[in-house]
Each structure stands twice: as structure tokens, then as C-alpha cells.
Assembly symmetry: C2
Homo-oligomer: 778 residues x 2
């Protein structure tokens, strides 16, 4: 057992005295006033051996300046990373084309030609592994509180890092960019503005998968002829060999693949870009139809209905095909079964008990309590918020009408107040949005979902419902209460085009420019204040220790980085950036756009065209945002777009109803069938709606969620692990069986007539044993 | 290797010379004119060792009489049965409460107290194992045709038994009843007519499962308070210890459990009875509401809508709860994952190729070809048949109207023809039904589905659509075209009550009585004809050999049973019975009843009451039918009610539409809201329908298909097999990893600054190797 203890040194032959560590993966910034003991205790934990509850990572601190908090850089040896990759159940593609659990023993299987031990794990996977280790530093039974803070209690099994974050002992913890990789990525990604590349979002398929893929494609072609999406048929792409430095030179000018986004930013970001690309491609057809509709100026009932029906069924087809595509992508990423993961998320709290599945001691919380909280508390609260929103909207509309009346009566004096209600309403919506987001997050944390997936699901679904009401209720009001189609049309156009364009500017460019300017200004101000004799004292009063303890100036007792190490500057720069939470805002934007395009497509068919234009730009600004505006995102391993899939599907179903109703109300159509009675006219659209909904249902039900090749590959793995299980139990032998059988029942004899040829032996079968030489020799 | 060859003798110590074998499980009757070579070849195969492609079963023939075909009895030793149970992937409950693959090595795990090696496999499982072995006798490459029949070709890998059956070389093949078990089952089951037992259809839960179950129950209670079904809460039932002979005495008078039906008749039959019991319990509420509605004589719009809405949502709740219940049952039977089974059904044909999943050589048939056949050929044909049906119904209605006219004009002369069209229509429907069933079966066989599940699914769904149109189209015509609610009401009542009562008589009692009488008559006639000198010759002419060969009178060269063996008489008796195909007819009856009850529930609320009465009787007649009228059914291991679940759900959705429309049309309701305009009146019901449908959708989506405890149990097994897989790969060792790392890269050094601390070594890393003693010693 001894040798394994001395192995850490293998990786750092300079010994623990060296200040050099492998590239920094995480930077942890402690609060300037955090107690030295607490900091050192955590650092010790991070460095300690597994058997002492540590994470076995490498830590170096930045050379400290006065009154600044301790910042440490966390890294890991290559061996450690490979080990973690295995224990964190990372799945990777083997050279046989199947995706299997990563396993150090079978390392050769995962080494494609061109990959080495250094590059077998992508930057994203390395980040994931280090965070996984940091998160799994958990409090032990005997550790009652954080050293130095008797008031901060530690429940056994609690993730220590999350306690430090919650108590603000750690002010910031973020992965550091790998600048070299990032630059080469950015060059190909957002800088090439006029490149068609974003549409070629393809996986780097190896040959076997490509064959599978072709088959699946042939199959789609046969079952749904003509419905094939352009980017489902690709030529065999040249395999991206690795993510190492040599890549830049080789792949300059090549098409840019999702696989590369994934290898740096992780699965959730890559999934978003895949979806965006897929969805934009799928919008091309409605956009073309919208243009066609405008050019041809259709004007029969059948034509209108056909266009609407096609659009609405197309939505279902898009979403079904995306589900299949998503399964393919997730399979090749090894995240297809992430939904049923057994691991609990770091923030999950509960009594420490044995997990019924794994038998490990883990925080446990009764499932029914969570359900109860969801249905009995959260759901009513969300409902009330939605009602509040609707009520506010009604008041705004009512006030506007009143003003309209007053304007007529009292002339232009009232006219200047005309836009007050809507401005007031807009401000209120913004405010409510802000607080509701906090409320939703708080409620979801309080519901205490065990897995990250469930947590995200419940949080996002709360937000989506609210956003839906906020954004579309006024349109519904215009469409079905005021019934003014022209107003609806202009309103949709405004909201779609103007707000989206502003969004681009606001979400990517503005923060980048403003932040840079602000930072420069703030830095110069601070240094001036510090140096000026009048303000220096005041300044020190302001930057007061939060936890009461005086900042100790003695350096932390671990090795510091070389003061000239470029990572120190880099960490400072990136610390000032905003953290990238998740792709929620980006998905939300798509969701709202989807609503504007399809909910009212029969009134404003041009929406799809504008949406396509927007999305092309969106691909670029989102890329820019990720590379420049935010901190390096934390990798989330996802296997689908989660709650958004359901939201889009629901919106698709609602769109069928709204469009049927819009066509039914449309004054342009009413005169096309002057002979129909009003009831007949309504029934036509009820029937149309039912027919389209039935079609959608049938499609959703008939198209399998996973393509054949994915199902086969999964079955294959399942079968192999079943075989392995059987083998492990040992090859059954007849000998074993018949010997045992005899020892219980004596000589089995098939001569007796009735069933149960030998009487059941409670006496151990000794009575029946008739040993005979020739049966004994084996 | 030698010893294992001599093991068959272990089980039959009397040697191959003995004519006694364990209880007969299967009887195979060959055609009287089948070539002796073919018979002997197959018997040889059944007896041969596995390595020679045999089934290793025991065979004895009946003592032959002149001009009768050869009949053989097939059985198996206990050891063989256990072996097959393992290789056929049978799952059984272990004493730890989990359901796992049966494994001979871990036999002790499956031996509950009270179970012995003789009784660990139920009669149903024994039957399943023997048939599994018979079906897996497959033709080898070198066997080009059936011996004696050069024209009957054998494709390699084809199931030989199914070829013999298809070519009618085997005229009958059925499992023999175990009379002792059957009697004890029948006594408790259908004979106790006034017992409440059928409602207590519960699983025999062991204690651990019971706890799980209670938790799930608590959960339902909390999430859906008040929606709990009575038979979900049970006291801990006494565990049924075994199925051996001692059972009769002990369990007399105890409640009768599904588990016992399953242990004798297998999963598909037990599943049907569980469903019937569950569904009947669930109908009690609508029945009570129906009575209430009659007693209270509701007459406001709100009341009507509430009753209708409740009924329609109750349907969804029933079906959702059944899905969960079904998952519980299937889990405890080990059939939950039978849908994704890898084994292909015996009748599946195709090129012999490697299965992409298992790697075994199997018949393969492109998936897309099957799909193509389904969508391009079968679907249009089925569609045409449906159109034909509708067309015929229209003609019948039209003819009746014409006759009505003529009657008015020409008086009673035409009146006598009044019922000709409907009688003619009924006859046609009967005839079409008969041929359509053949067509559907033929089409499904031609579609060539790989798994039994897919095959059954496609066959049954074809039949269900047809039956739906046949049975309900006339009701729809009356309801929505003629719009005569009184006629509809009486029609529903007639069809529900009269036809179902007739059904009971026809399906169980009639065949039993008629068959017995007919058999006696036929036997006496044949013996008279044979003995009479005038007809004896003629008789021999009629019973002519089919395959041309003269029946050889030499006995088959295997051992015969004792001529006094009671099994010979039993086999003869049971051979005369009809084979039990599947529960299709029984499910269909429930499906149609479900339709009558819910499709028009707002018009005829009493339907549920009659349905309950009917079902109580149905439970008894179906039991009688299984025990007396049919041959012992072949066990089918099913995990759900298959296509019926979807059919019932679809019918539930259609019921929402029909009931909304019926309420909208109802003249009784119209005067309740005299101020509403016709359009508003229609919109009320459109909204009502949408609201109910949305509720249904939300329910279906929110209620998980499997209860928590089943999901946890499945996850546990999954986790264990994953662990086993990891263990099998060998415990990863750091030593392995770091040694390997060094041999490729030389000494890893974390001192260098940039990422990729050691340059990727194409040169085998020799340049970097800096061996140092202290790192080498481990």
C-alpha cells in the first residue's frame, strides 16, 4: 500500500518546493477578510489524499498584495485527470465507434490515431474533472464547523466548496481560459463573419458512425420523402484529430464543427449552437413560404388554410427531427443517459442516509416532500404572479383607453400622457421580471431537487411560463379581444425585429465596450484615491472586513506562483468579467422568436424571414459573447435541450389553436365563404384545428425519438454489460448444478410417474443419496 | 470436457431404455402421412445435445395405432429446465426483493423459504422453457431441406419447428395441462361464483416490496388526494409459499391472487385478469355517478358539464394509474423490459447475418423495408377496407330509409322487408370481419417484424381500427347525422347489454357443451363407419395421405409410453380442444365496452353500471373458458397490455370530443341558455373540450409512468450491473496508469510553464526517460 502514497511526487519531480504547476484550470478568490485558518483548511483539503477526504489537486497561490484577498490557482496532473475522468463516469467514443464509460485500463481503446495521453481529454473535460473533484470535497462527521468560524456549521456530507461560496468566504471561483485554444477557436468562429460555416454545424463523424448515419438518413428519406433536412446529409467530414496546438495550422479555413465548440466550452454550449443552427435551417422553409405568400398574394380559403397547416405541421416535424438529431449528438457525446444520473447536485441538502440505489451515504430528502412543495406552494405562487401580470396588463390597456377618451374630449393636453401607461407598464414588467427570476430561483432551491437536471427543469419551467405571459399576453389581447389584425401585425413586427436587434447590441457589444471603459476608469480612480493623502484613509474605512476579523498579512503557507507568471494577470482580467450562468437567456430569445413566428404566422407570414436574418447574426454575437464578454463557462454535460424541448412543443400546439382562431376571425377570409352560416364557419376552423392537432400527435407518436442506429448502439452496450455481468457471476457449469442437485435431492430419478418426481427433501436429501462410481468421476 | 457428455444419464438413471419420463409438458402430433424420416429427424434433433444443434429434451412416443399419426410427448429434466431458465433470460424475484436475471450459480438467492429446486420454476415457466428450446432448434448451413421432402427447403437459421408447422408435417403442438394444479386453481377461481375474490386481484407482495408499495401509495395520496383506488391499499397479504401440491389444503378459502394465475397460465393471461379487475374497480365510480345522475335528474348546464368532465378526466386517471400499476406488476414478474428484447420471433425470416447488437448470426431483414411495407402497402389497404365498411354502412342506412318510404307508399307489403338491409349488413360485417382478420394477420406476417412485440402490435392495431369503425360508425351516424338522441340511447343500451350477454354464452358455455356433444357423436359415427363393411373401404379412401407417401406402419424408433399411461388419454382429449391464441378477443370486448360506456356517457350514463355487472360475470366466464374450453395456453411473457393501452387512451381522447359535441347538440340543454347566440353556444363546448383535453394531457405528462419504487429498483439493478462491469474490467490501479504514462512520455514533469507540459512524444518518449531509483521500486 505504501507505494501508492508516494505517487503524487511522480508528477512533480521538482518536489513540493516548486512553484510551477500545470496550466491553471480553476481560480479561487477568497474574501479579503476571510480567516486565514479557514483558507488554509480548504487548501489543505484540496491538496490532501483521497483517503483523507481530499481532492488530490495541485494548488498555488498568487503572490499576495496588501489588503487583497488570497487567490489560488488549482490544477491537476494528467494522471489525476484521467483518474477523475473514470470515476466521474465520463463517456467517450472508443475506436470501435461505440461510446463507452471512460476507463483507464482500456485507455488504448480511447486513443484515436493522433490523440495522445495529453489530448485524450478535451479542455472542457479537464475543467469538468477538476470541478467534479472540488465539489466532492465533503464534510466529515467529526468536522462540525468551518475552522475560524464556529457559527458556520457543516453538516456531514455537505459540499465544503458550496458552503464557502454561500457564506461568501470564496468571492469568486471560475475556470481560467486557455488562451491559445480560445484564440484559435475565436478566429474560426466569430471573426469569419461572411463565412457560411455556422450552418455546417456538424459532428465530426467517424466512418462507422457515418455509415450508421447514412442508413438512418436513407430511412428518413424513405419514410418521409422530401422532408429531409439539408444538413442531415453530409459528406464524410475529415476527422478533427485533436485539440492540440498543431490544429490551428491544419484546419484554417475548414468548416467549423460543433465538436470543436464542445471540446472547449462543453456540451451545454455546443448543444445550444447545434440547436440554433438546426432551427435556423428549418426556418428557411417557412421564410421562403412567407415570401411566396407575399409575392403570390394568396386569396382563397383553401390556400390560406394550406399555408397555415403546412407551417404548423412543419413545426412538429422540426421538433421531432431535432429530438432525433439531439439523441444522435448526445449519444456521440456520451450524455444520452445523463437524465437518470444517480449523483445528487452540490446544493442538495438533507439527512445523511444510505442511498437506496447505490448504498452510499448521501444526503437524502423524501421525494414526496419535494412534490408537495412543488404542487402546494410553488405552483400557487407562480399562478398568483401570472395573474398579477395579466392584471397589470389589463390596467395598462384600460388606462390607455381612458387617455384615448380624454384626448378626444380635452385635446392635446391629455395627448402628452398618451404613452405614460405603456412606459409605466414596460418598466413594471422589467422590474417584475427581475424579482420573479429571484423568486423562481429561490423557490426551486427551496424545493430541494436531488439532481441537477430536475433542478434546472423546475427553475426554467417557472421562468418560461412567466415570460410567455409577459411577452404574448398583450398580443393575445389585441388578437382576440380587440380583434384588430393590422395592429397585431405591426405589433408582432415591432417586437420581433426591433427588440431582437437591440438585444444583439445589448447582450454582446455593449457589455464588452462598457465594461472595458468602466474597468479602466475604476482602476485609475482607485489608484488616485489610494495615492491621494486625503482619501487614502477614507478608502481603507470603506473596504472594511466583512467577517469582522482583521486581515492578516502573513502569507498563506503554500507555494506562490512566480510573480511574473502571465496567469496572474489573466486571472485578474477574467475575474472582472461576468460569469456565464447558462444558455437560459439565449434559449429564451429563441423561444420568444419561435412564438412570434408561429403563434401569429397566418397574420404575419414574413416573421420567419426576419427570424432567419436575426439568427444568422445571433450565431455570431453569441460566439463573440462567449469568447470575449464572459468568464470561461463551467461545463455542463447535457443530453438534450431539457425543458425547452417541451416548451417549444407546447408552443407549437398553442400555435395551432391561435392560427385557427385568427383565420376564423380574419375579415379578409370571411367574405370568401358568404354562404356559410356563422356556426358552420366556426366549425370549419374547429375541424381544421382538430385535424392538424391529430396530425401532430400522430407524427410525434410514430417517429421514434432515437434514430435506429442510436438505439442499436445503446442496445449493444446494454447487451455487452449484461454479458459481462453474467461472466462475472462465473460461467455456469452443469457440474455445479448437477452436483448441487444431487446433494439436496439425492439421485434424481425420472422414473416415477407423477409430477415432482422426487419428493421434496427437507432432510437434506441424504436418504436418497445413492453414490455410484461412474457419476462421481467428474 | 468428457464428463459433461455423460451427464444426461444422471437424470435418467434407468437409462435410455426406460419409457418413463417426467410429466409431459408438450405434445406434438405429426401428420398421419408425414414421412418417417422427417419425424425421426426432428425427434433426434429434440433429443440431441446442444453442440449438435439439439434441444436436449426428453421424448417418448405414444403407442401407435394403425393409420394414426405419430404423437410424441416432450419433457425435460429439472436440471435442463433450470439451465434453460437462465439462458432464456428469465427474471425472478430474489430473496432480497429485487428482480434479477435467473442464474443457476446464485440459485440460493431465488429460493424463498418453502421453495425447493422442484418448485422454483412455476408450471408456466417450465412450459416457457420447453417451448423456448423447441423454437431454438434451427436449421444449419448444411441442412438444405427436410429429410424425405426435397421440396421443403430449409434456410439456415430457420426455426425447424415453425417450418414443420407451416408445412403441416406437425398438425398439432400444444402444452399438456397439469391436471392437479389446474383443478386446485379452478376450484378457487371460477367455481366460487359468489366470492368477492376477483376484486382482490393483488400481487403477493413480500415485505420489502410492500414497504416500497406503501411509500408509492402515500405519494399518490399526497399528490392526487382522493384519487386513490381502493385496491391500491392492501394489507400485507400472506405470502403464497409455493405452487406445489400441499398448497390446496393450506390456501382453501384464501383470497385468490393474480400471482397464482400467472404461475399456471403465464404473464399474458394474468395481465388480462389484472387489467379486468382494475378496470372494473375503476368503473364503480362512473357507475355510481350514473345512478346518481338518474336519481337526482340533473338539469343545469353546469351540472351536465361537470358530470361529463369528471367522467372524461376519470378515464385518464384510470389509464395513468393502470400504467403505473402495470409497471409494478411487470417489474415483479421480471417482464418490464421485454419490449426491447433482442431475440427475434420464430416466424421472422431474412438473410442470415450478424446481428449488430449481439454479434450472433441471425436472420436479418432491413428495418426500412418493414417500415416501407407498413406505410406504403398495409396502411392503404387497411384504409380501403375501412372505407369499404363505411360505404356498406351508408348503403344499409340508405336502403332502410328507402324501405321506410316504400312502406309509407305501398303499406305493409314493403314492411316485411324492413329488416332485410340491417340483417344483410350484419351478415356482411360478420363475413368481412372474418376475412379481414385473415388479411390483417397475413399482412403483418408479410411485413416481417423482428420481435414478437412489434408483430403483435401491428396485427392488433390493424384489427382494432377495423373493429372501431365496424362497431361505432353506426352510432356516430345516428348521433351526428340523424341527431336522434333517443335512438342513440336505445342503440347503445342494446349493443352494450344484449351483445355482451350473448357473448358470455357464446364464448364459454356454448363451445364447451357443443364440443362435448359433437365429439361423442363424431367418435361413435367414425367407429360405426369403420366397422360397417359397406363404408370401411370408402372411409379409407377419404382419409388419404396428404403428402403422397403411403403411411408406413413401422413404429418410430424411440421408446413408447406405457399404453396405460393416463397422459395418452389426456393428450387425446386436449387435442380436440381449440387452441387459445391470445387474449385478443377478451381485450376487444373490454375495448368495445369502454367505447359504449365513455363515448356516449353524457347521453346514456347508466352504461357504466351495466358494464360493471357484465365484467363481474366476465371474470368468471373467462376463467371457465381458460380452464375448460381451450387447450392449455402457451405462455407469453408480456410487460404491459401492449397496443391496448394506446387504444384505450385514444378512445378516451375521442370520448372528450364526442361528449362535448353530444352536449352541444342535446336539445335538452339548448333551452338552458336561451340568450346565447349559436356561435357562442358552439364556442362554449369547444372551450370545454379544449380544457378537458389540456387537463388530460397535463395529467398524462405529470404522472410518471413508473412508480418511484420501481424506478429505484431498476436504477439499483442498473447501478449494480454497471459496477460489475467496472469490476470485471479490473480495478484500475494508479501503478498501471503511471507506469504506462512514463513509458510513453518519459518522466512527467510539471515544471514547465505552458500547457502540454511534456511535448507529445512521437519518439516513444525515450529521450525524456530519466530513471531514478526511488520511483522504480513499486
Amino acid at each position: 500500500m505504501q507505494p501508492s502514497d508516494s505517487e503524487d511526487e511522480v508528477d512533480s519531480p521538482d518536489g513540493p518546493g516548486s512553484s510551477h504547476i500545470p496550466p491553471t484550470i480553476y481560480v479561487i478568490k477568497f474574501h479579503p477578510a476571510a480567516a486565514r485558518e479557514a483558507i488554509e483548511w480548504l487548501i489543505e483539503k484540496i491538496e490532501a489524499k483521497h483517503k483523507y477526504g481530499g481532492a488530490e489537486l495541485l494548488v498555488r497561490c498568487e503572490p499576495q498584495k496588501q489588503s487583497q484577498g488570497v487567490s489560488v490557482h488549482v490544477s491537476a496532473t494528467k494522471i489525476k485527470l484521467l483518474e477523475v475522468a473514470e470515476s466521474a463516469d465520463l463517456q467517450k467514443k472508443t475506436s470501435s465507434g461505440l461510446v463507452q464509460d471512460f476507463c483507464v485500463r482500456d485507455l488504448d481503446q480511447f486513443l484515436y490515431p493522433g490523440l495522445t495521453l495529453d489530448t485524450v481529454l478535451t479542455p472542457a473535460e479537464r475543467e469538468y474533472c477538476v470541478r467534479h473533484e472540488l465539489d466532492s470535497i465533503r464534510a466529515k462527521q467529526e468536522e462540525g464547523h468551518v475552522p475560524g468560524y464556529p457559527q458556520i456549521l457543516l453538516h456531514p456530507g455537505e459540499s465544503i466548496i458550496s458552503v464557502y461560496l454561500a457564506e461568501e468566504l470564496i468571492t469568486d471561483m471560475f475556470p481560467l481560459h486557455d488562451r491559445q485554444v480560445l484564440e484559435s477557436l475565436a478566429n474560426k468562429w466569430y471573426k469569419a463573419i461572411f463565412q457560411i460555416a455556422p450552418f455546417g454545424l456538424q459532428l465530426s463523424l467517424d466512418v462507422e458512425k457515418y455509415e450508421f448515419f447514412q442508413k438512418a438518413n436513407d430511412y428518413i428519406e424513405r419514410v418521409l420523402p422530401g422532408f429531409q433536412l439539408p444538413n442531415l446529409t453530409g459528406t464524410i467530414p475529415k476527422r478533427k484529430e485533436s485539440t492540440d496546438e498543431s490544429m490551428d495550422a491544419k484546419s484554417e479555413g475548414e468548416a467549423f464543427y460543433t465538436e470543436e465548440i464542445r471540446s472547449y466550452f462543453g456540451e451545454s454550449v455546443a448543444m445550444y449552437f447545434s440547436f440554433l443552427g438546426f432551427y435556423t435551417m428549418a426556418l428557411l422553409l417557412p421564410a421562403a413560404l412567407g415570401l411566396l405568400q407575399m409575392v403570390l398574394s394568396v386569396d382563397t380559403l383553401t390556400e390560406y388554410s394550406l399555408f397555415a397547416a403546412f407551417n404548423l405541421i412543419w413545426v412538429t416535424i422540426i421538433l421531432e427531427l431535432w429530438k432525433r438529431r439531439c439523441a444522435e449528438i448526445a449519444y456521440s457525446w456520451g450524455t444520452l443517459d445523463k437524465q437518470c444520473q444517480v449523483e445528487s447536485r452540490p446544493g442538495f441538502s438533507g439527512e445523511m442516509r444510505q442511498n437506496p440505489v447505490t448504498g452510499r451515504f448521501e444526503p437524502c430528502y423524501p421525494h414526496w416532500k419535494t412534490k408537495l412543495k412543488v404542487y402546494m406552494v410553488s405552483a400557487p405562487i407562480v399562478g398568483l404572479c401570472l395573474l398579477g401580470c395579466l392584471w397589470m396588463m389589463m390596467i395598462a390597456f384600460f388606462a390607455e383607453e381612458q387617455l384615448m377618451d380624454w384626448k378626444k374630449r380635452y385635446g392635446s393636453v391629455a395627448g402628452i400622457f398618451m404613452h405614460v401607461p405603456s412606459a409605466f407598464y414596460a418598466a413594471l414588467v422589467w422590474l417584475m421580471n427581475y424579482y420573479y427570476k429571484k423568486l423562481a430561483t429561490g423557490l426551486t432551491v427551496w424545493e430541494n431537487h436531488r439532481t441537477q437536471y430536475d433542478h434546472d427543469w423546475h427553475r426554467v419551467s417557472k421562468l418560461v411560463i412567466f415570460e410567455f405571459i409577459n411577452n404574448f399576453s398583450s398580443l393575445f389581447y389585441i388578437a382576440f379581444y380587440i380583434q384588430d389584425m393590422d395592429m397585431l401585425c405591426s405589433q408582432v413586427a415591432t417586437m420581433l425585429i426591433v427588440t431582437q436587434m437591440i438585444n444583439h447590441f445589448q447582450e454582446a457589444l455593449l457589455p464588452y465596450v462598457v465594461k472595458k471603459a468602466y474597468n479602466q476608469f475604476a482602476d485609475s480612480l482607485v489608484s488616485q484615491l489610494r495615492s491621494h493623502p486625503l482619501t487614502a484613509k477614507l478608502f481603507e474605512e470603506i473596504v472594511k472586513p466583512v467577517h469582522g476579523a482583521e486581515p492578516e498579512e502573513s502569507p498563506v503557507c503554500i507555494l506562490a506562483l512566480d510573480p511574473k507568471d502571465p496567469r496572474i494577470v489573466q486571472a485578474k482580467e477574467e475575474c472582472d468579467l461576468d460569469p456565464y450562468e447558462d444558455a437560459y437567456d439565449d434559449y429564451l430569445e429563441m423561444f420568444l422568436q419561435f412564438g412570434y413566428v408561429f403563434l401569429f404566422s397566418s397574420v404575419y407570414p414574413m416573421a420567419a424571414f426576419w427570424a432567419v436574418l436575426n439568427n444568422v447574426l445571433e450565431l455570431k454575437t453569441d460566439a463573440f459573447k462567449l469568447c470575449r464578454v464572459f468568464q470561461r463557462p463551467k461545463v455542463k454535460r447535457v443530453g438534450s435541450i431539457g425543458v425547452w424541448q417541451g416548451s417549444f412543443e407546447l408552443l407549437g400546439a398553442v400555435a395551432v389553436m391561435t392560427n385557427s382562431a385568427l383565420l376564423c376571425l380574419s375579415p379578409r377570409l370571411r367574405h370568401l365563404a358568404p354562404t356559410a352560416s356563422p356556426v358552420e364557419w366556426v366549425l370549419i376552423f374547429v375541424l381544421l384545428e382538430h385535424a392538424i392537432l391529430a396530425c401532430k400527435m400522430a407524427l410525434m407518436w410514430l417517429v421514434p425519438d432515437q434514430p435506429l442506429w442510436v438505439r442499436q448502439a445503446l442496445e449493444k452496450i446494454n447487451y455487452q454489460s449484461k454479458l459481462a455481468l453474467k461472466n462475472e457471476r462465473g460461467k455456469k457449469t452443469r457440474r455445479h448444478l448437477s452436483r448441487r442437485f444431487r446433494s439436496v435431492h439425492g439421485m434424481p430419478r425420472s422414473g416415477s410417474r407423477s409430477r415432482g418426481t422426487t419428493p421434496v427433501a427437507q432432510n437434506g436429501g441424504l436418504r436418497h443419496r445413492t453414490p455410484s462410481g461412474n457419476y462421481r468421476e467428474y
